[in-house]
Amino acid sequence: MIELDRAGRSFKVKRSLKLEGNLVHAVRDLSFTVAPGEFVGYLGPNGAGKSTTIKMLCGILTPTSGRVRVAGLDPSRKRTTLARRIGVVFGQRTTLWWDLPLRDSFELIRHLYKVDRNVFKTRLDELTETLDLGGFIRTPVRQLSLGQRMRGDLAAALLHAPDVLVLDEPTIGLDVVSKSSIRAFLRRLNTEQGTTVLLTTHDLGDIERLCRRVMLIDHGRLAFDGTLDELMATAPEQSTIEDVVTRLYTGSR
């Protein structure tokens, strides 16, 4: 479903007035494959290249080297075709229309993604129920609490029934209740509908409760790729997941 083959992304950083800028590699030689139906956690310290990877997957950034395929499509060339098959949620930034009621944002998305009216209705009813949107669906997005907004964003990303869902820190800043309701929803989505999910997060609770497979990126390279159990096995027994990840983060430096 997601396929990266030696994908790389570098940025030119202009230093003062010097003409030739320094080349900074945000991601280099990154290769991994995510099979349909997998739920993968994508970890890494700040600035490791997580967001860059995500942006390459949804066609916001064009890779400078290597190959990226999502649902068999090259994201940077087939951006609009891919958009219909992928759902994206940015935890730090809403993809909804700030001044419009949630319901209007959904209606717009129905038209932009050309979702059939009846299919849309069933799907929205379903999402309204599972994400408990009923209480604030007519409220403008800017007036929603962070937890409500995130649930709205999730619904918006799923209205067109994408095959892949990419989540960039979806639980950031949420309270315990909101977090657990979103986790429950994501698990159901993955097991019942078979949606492939790629999740970046700093919250290791997300990883423990949701992800069968974990990938860890640091300095733009893959530092670990395996199951959660394998990840735990890299450290002495009785270590918590925090210990394990801390070791990996600091060890790879």
């Binding site: 940025f11 860059t52 942006k55 949804c58 066609g59 916001i60 950034l61 064009t62 400078t64 940077s76 951006r79 609009t80 075709t81 958009a83 219909r84 992928i86 994206v88 940015f90 930034r93 809403t94 993809t95 229309w97 001044d99 419009l100 209007d104 209606e107 717009l108 038209h111 932009l112 993604y113 050309k114």
Partner: protein
Amino acid sequence: MVSAYFRLAWTWTRAAMAYPASFALMSVLGLIVAGTDVAVILIIFANTTSLAGFSRAETLFLYGTANVAFCLCDMFVSNIDRISQHVKAGTFDTMLIRPVSTWIQMAADRFLPTRIGRVLQAALVLGYSISALDLDSGRLWMIPVMITTGAVIFAALWTLAGAVQFVLTDASEVTNAFTYGSGQLTQYPFAIYGRELVRGVTYGLPLAFVNWQPALYVLDRDDPFGTPGFMRFLGPVAALVLALLAGFAWRLGIRHYRSTGS
């Protein structure tokens, strides 16, 4: 594409209509704000009967034709102007995850239906000037052609301005000089401008085809700069060339964005 545009625009319209009083007020105020430009022309002609050889009605005709086109674009396309804000805030990313052209999304971004007041104002002035002038009815066909041409040229200018903003995110006001500056320039008979400037906006940036060249045909007047007569009919060609260029620039801008990130 077109349906996506109107869907977006309609959503914003509904949002604006939620406050009817404010909606009405803004429409009227748009009309008044745009009216200051007419006020300036009227005050000038309160002091003189002719400006560089053109009468009040002729000047208002030029103002009207250019401004109907300009205000239509101001309403339907100028939202592209906000691109540097979206790039700076990182919200442009969210447009790239939608299965719709970024140009359509930007042009419809925060669509303001109240700008219809400005279009109406320009149309009123145009209507008045046509009734005040004794025009040859065989030449009136040119008026819709020139308005369409003008609208395409202004839309292309805004697109170019948007494309440039991908690079000049900190200096987006520069593009105002070209978009709003062009709107200002075409309000008056080109006879008032210097020869070099007129040459530049005829053969370089084709603003002369918004209204000046075709209007000379409608008004049946000689070109004070001696431009050949066939130029009066070249508007659609010039508009098409500029539109293609703008489309190309827009693609370049998006590519630049996707290769630099936010």
